[in-house]
Symmetry: C2
Subunit: 255 residues, 2 copies
Amino acid sequence: MGLDFGSTASKGVVLKDGKEIVCTAIITSGTGTSGPERVKEKLLKESNLLESDMEAVVVTGYGRMTYQGAKKQISELSCHAKGVHFLVPDVGTVIDIGGQDIKALLLDKNGNLSNFVMNDKCAAGTGRFLDVMAGVLETEVSMLGEISMMSKAPVNISSTCTVFAESEVISHLSAGVNKEDIIAGIHISVAGRVAALAKRVGIKDKVVMVGGVAKNIGVVKAMEDALGKNIEVPKLAQLTGALGAALFAFEALNK
Amino acid sequence: MGLDFGSTASKGVVLKDGKEIVCTAIITSGTGTSGPERVKEKLLKESNLLESDMEAVVVTGYGRMTYQGAKKQISELSCHAKGVHFLVPDVGTVIDIGGQDIKALLLDKNGNLSNFVMNDKCAAGTGRFLDVMAGVLETEVSMLGEISMMSKAPVNISSTCTVFAESEVISHLSAGVNKEDIIAGIHISVAGRVAALAKRVGIKDKVVMVGGVAKNIGVVKAMEDALGKNIEVPKLAQLTGALGAALFAFEALNK
Ligand code: SF4
């Protein structure tokens, strides 16, 4: 079993023989809440297994140190790398846009982390940036991707800073610009910011996007334009940390 | 006459013989509005002078290029340096916190600019940061300084980013922390950010603070703590750009 206790969600994967994903679960409350316990219960219930059936548990994420009963705690970055490599064996660069940070990982052929860059000090380009903009636009953040696909003339957002960009969005709104064009401009702004960070770590085929923001098709398309490359978003994009933890658990048993 | 057309205010100074400040005016609307015309009219009216009495007009600030009829346009930084040096002849470092940017200037003995650093890309530490926090705290931004003086135990704000710091302030509020302690923590956060920038240009006695945020006594005190130095805030702190422009106008006549 691999568990990933983040700041806003708890995720888990049950893996059989280091190969087969038996069950996955996501609870949208993170460390410091009941999320960690609930995700474990959910996994056991849905897989019809007992805690004693788990041969090894590895835990990752921001809340990994508060959890008792794991065989190992392993850093998020290593788990993400391993999880993504399992899903997309020929991955080179992983771009992970979370709610409050951006990470770019460079992987070697075996899926080991060879370099990474991270921004967790500035909200620009993160999920939080999109939350702020969705608030101003009075739109659900989950709708942004779809709406932006209708844009024919994305606006230019010149400020990177969330606060200054918010003012620009308000000006565009009061000038009567279409929401789809504003949202498309917002996605281009996020992509510019994230692409700059990713280029610092290196862009190596295949490029894979994970993290909550990878569900936003508008950001993914804007990232493809910014990098001039196709980007793959695995179906289990939110679960790569927990999956990597489960793979480490399997490895730990076999050492 | 020196005029300073900023993004949020228009300011002017009438100077006699390069020495005597005859009249000053501030209109709280900037370039692109009627502010520039109004500040000029106000200066002439209050000084009982005619436009033809002005021997030379120099204009500075963001809107300087849109103004017709000036002898010269001179950059803000040079005008600020000159204006501050006129008010505080032994100034070394000038720290200017505006509504949307932070500047730190290093001056030589003659009041000429020898180096500067500027941040206009990030709202952290600027007047805008304080505006956002005042909004969350439902407090007038002009009251922040005074309220913070009552604090006995300032909170720690760990994020520099405006967006993340705003979340911290909201948490403190919902945990029932006193407003004065939260505001004092906000001022310490601004001071930390600004002091780091100022150190990059160099801290040389005397240290002078100008710009809108210099009116906030809480930020000034927190800056003194952060730098371990006394800071002087000239009475005409908002007018140093216009004053410098007027000094340049006088110089231009005498060359
Ligand atoms: S640029 Fe804006 S979003 Fe980034 S740290 Fe500064 S205030 Fe925060």
